[in-house]
Symmetry: C2
C-alpha cells in the first residue's frame, strides 16, 4: 500500500490467520495514549493549537524515519468513502472524524502500526498482530512510541505516569486487547459466567467494533480496563493469561458439544457453508454469524480446504464501506445485501463445490487441546 487509495485492496496483515492460535484468536492489539507536554489537550485546544500538534507530530514522524514504511495524511484530505474503510479496518475511530479540528493519521504499509493525531489524546499509537501475539504488538507499538518519544516531549507525571484526556487511561496509557472467537462457550451458554469472571479481574469485553458494539459472530474483544498503578508487563501478562484460559475453556466447551450433540453441531457448520456458498441476499450480521459457524468447522477440522485468511478477509471486505468501494458506488442496504452475497459466493463456492457429501470415515472433530495451550 503506497497511499490511502490502495487501502482495502489487499487483506490486512493482521488478518492473515498465521499468528499463534489463529483459529481462535483473530488478532492482538495494543494502543498507547500519549500527549505532548505544554500543549492543551484536544478537547480544550483551539484550531490553531490543533494544527500545531498535527505539525509537531508529523515532523516527528519524518525525523524518526518510520515515515519510510508508511504514509501520513491529514484527516481533512480523507474522503468519506475512505473514512468508512479506515473505521472498518480498525485504523481510526469515529471520535477521530470530528470536523471541528485538524487531525492526522499515520499508517504503515502493512497496516500493522498506526497513529492518530488529535483523537481523544494528542497521540494514539496502535499496533496489531495476527493471532495470539500481544507481546509482538506491544514490541511494535513500543518501537514507534520510543522513536517518537525521543523527538516529542510526552506529558508525564513522576507519580502517575503518562497523562491522558480521560482519567481511565492515565498511567501506562495502554490498552491491550485480543479479538477472540468463542462459539463453543456461547453454544454451551457458559459465556455469561465467563464474562462476569473476566470483568471481575479488571478486563472489559466488547464486540468486534469496540465500545458499545454488539457481540456478533461470537467475536469478543477482551481488553484491560485499568492502566493506572500497574506496569505494561503486568497488564499484558494478565490479558495473556486470561486469553489462554478462555482458549482452554472454549476447547472444553467444543469437546462437550461434539460429545453431546455432534450431528447438530456439524449441521450448523455445513448449513452455514451451504448458505454462504449459494445465498443471493446476505446481511452483514448474518454473514458474521455464518462465518462464525464455518470458522468453528475449520478449527475442528470438520471442514477442510477453507483457510482463516479467507474467513478473516470476508469479515472485513463484506462490510458496508468495503463493499461500496468494490462496487465503486454508494448502495442501499438492499443492494449491499445482494452484492455481499455475490462476493461471498465468488470467493467461497469454488471451494465448497469441491467438498464431498459425506464425512470421510476418519473425519472426527478435532477438539484436542493443542500443544501450545
Amino acid at each position: 500500500m503506497k497511499s490511502l487509495e490502495d487501502l482495502g485492496n489487499q487483506p490486512a496483515a493482521w488478518l492473515s490467520g498465521q499468528g499463534e492460535r489463529g483459529d481462535i484468536v483473530l488478532s492482538s492489539r495494543v494502543r498507547l495514549a500519549r500527549n505532548i507536554a505544554e500543549h492543551l489537550y484536544p478537547q480544550r485546544a483551539n484550531e490553531s493549537q490543533h494544527k500545531r500538534v498535527v505539525d509537531l507530530v508529523s515532523t516527528a514522524i519524518d525525523k524518526t524515519g518510520v515515515a519510510k514504511s508508511g504514509f501520513f495524511v491529514e484527516s481533512a484530505s480523507i474522503d468519506e468513502f475512505t473514512r468508512d474503510i479506515l473505521i472498518e479496518r480498525h485504523l481510526i475511530s469515529k471520535e477521530f472524524l470530528r470536523e471541528d479540528r485538524s487531525a492526522g493519521l499515520f499508517i504503515t504499509e502493512d497496516e500493522t502500526t498506526s497513529l492518530m493525531i488529535n483523537e481523544e489524546d494528542h497521540l494514539r499509537l496502535q499496533a496489531v498482530s495476527s493471532g495470539m501475539n500481544i507481546r509482538q504488538a506491544m514490541t511494535m507499538v513500543s518501537d514507534l512510541d520510543e522513536q517518537l518519544g525521543a523527538v516529542l516531549e510526552y506529558d508525564t507525571d513522576p507519580r502517575l505516569g503518562y497523562l491522558t484526556s480521560c482519567p481511565t487511561n492515565v498511567g501506562t496509557g495502554m490498552r491491550a486487547s485480543v479479538l477472540i472467537h468463542l462459539p463453543g462457550l456461547v453454544l454451551t451458554r457458559d459465556m455469561d459466567t465467563m464474562l462476569s469472571q473476566v470483568n471481575k479481574i479488571g478486563l472489559t469485553v466488547r464486540g468486534f467494533y469496540g465500545e458499545g458494539s454488539d457481540v456478533i459472530g461470537n467475536l469478543f474483544q477482551i481488553s484491560n480496563q485499568t492502566t493506572l498503578g500497574r506496569s505494561e508487563e503486568d497488564l499484558i501478562e494478565s490479558l495473556e493469561k486470561v486469553t489462554r484460559q478462555l482458549i482452554a475453556y472454549e476447547q472444553d466447551a467444543r469437546k462437550r458439544l461434539f460429545a453431546d450433540a455432534p450431528d447438530q453441531i456439524k449441521d450448523k457448520i455445513w448449513r452455514a457453508l451451504g448458505i454462504l456458498g449459494l445465498a443471493r441476499v446476505l446481511t452483514s450480521d448474518e454473514v458474521m454469524n455464518l462465518l462464525s459457524a464455518v470458522r468453528l468447522g475449520v478449527s475442528t477440522r470438520i471442514i477442510k480446504g477453507v483457510d482463516y485468511a479467507l474467513l478473516n478477509d470476508l469479515l472485513l471486505c463484506t462490510r458496508r464501506a468495503h463493499l461500496q468501494r468494490m462496487m465503486g458506488r454508494r448502495m442501499s442496504a438492499d443492494d449491499r445485501d445482494v452484492a455481499r452475497a455475490a462476493l461471498i459466493r465468488e470467493r467461497l463456492w469454488p471451494i465448497v463445490k469441491t467438498m464431498d457429501y459425506q464425512d470421510a470415515p476418519d473425519n472426527k472433530p478435532d477438539t484436542a487441546i493443542k500443544e501450545d495451550d
Copy 2:
C-alpha cells in the same frame, strides 16, 4: 414390483413428474366408493361377514384378469413396516388398518391402480396419474370398476346412484383430487382468498396427507366435496377448470414475486438447495418446505439440472417408514433426521456441486404462461 416387499424400492409411477404441468401439479387421483348389494356394510358387519366380502372381491379380481398386472394381499399379512410404507405412498388409509376386521388390498405393479376391501366401504378403488391428468386417472379407475362391476353386484339406488357408508359419498361415490404446488400464492398471501373461493364452489382443500393433515411444503390437495346429484363428468370438469385457474393464478403470483423481489425469491431457492445439499440434520417438515423452494426454482428455471422425478421421490423416500425400511431398522426421530439428511445429500449434492456461483446472464426467471394453459 412383484410383491409388497419390493414396494418403495422404486419410485411410484405417479411421481414421475412426466404428466401435464408436472411442475405445478404433482398428481391427479380418482377414487370410487362401492358396496356389494345384500351384504352389511363394514361398520355393521361381523367378522365372518367381513371375511365373506374379502373372499368375494378377491375372487372377482381373479376372474376379471386384472390380477395379472398386480397382486392381492390380506391386511393381516401386512407387517407394520409395510403398512406405514403403504400409507406414505397413499395406497391405504389409516382407516384401513383396523384390527377388528378382515380386509384386503390389491395393487397393480406400477402402483397406479389400487383397491381397498373393507375400509369405510366394501370397495375403495383408486387410480393416480402423474401431473394434471384427472381424466386419465378416471379412465383407469373406471376400467377396474367396470370389470369388477361385471362380476360383483354393486349396491345402488335408481334415484341416488351408488350407496355408501357415509352419506357424503352417496351418488357417484367418486372423489377426484389433484395435488398442486402453490408456493407463489402462499408467498403473495393470496392463498387464503383463493381457498375460500375454492370452498364456495364445492371443493375441499387438504394437505399432502389427506383429511386433517396440515399444509406443508405449499402442497395442496384439492378435491370435490359432494358427489350427489352431479355426474362424474361434471365433477371432473369442475375440478379441472379450478385446477387450470389455480395454475394461472400461481403463474401470475410468481410473475409478481419475481418483479417485486427477485433477489429475495432467488435467495430462498438457492438457500434451500444449499441447505438440502449439505445439512446433517433435517426434519420431515423442513424437507418438504425446502423441496418446495427448490421445485419453485426448477419450475422457473432458476435452477437447472434437477428434475421433478427426483424432487417427488425425495418427498416420499424421506418419510419415516421409507427411511426406516432403507436403514433396515426402527429409528428414533433424531436418528431419522440424520439419516434423512444423509440420503438427501447423497441424492442432491452431486448435482448441486456442479452448479455455478453466478446466474448465467440469460438466466431470467421463467414465469411465462405455458402454451397449454
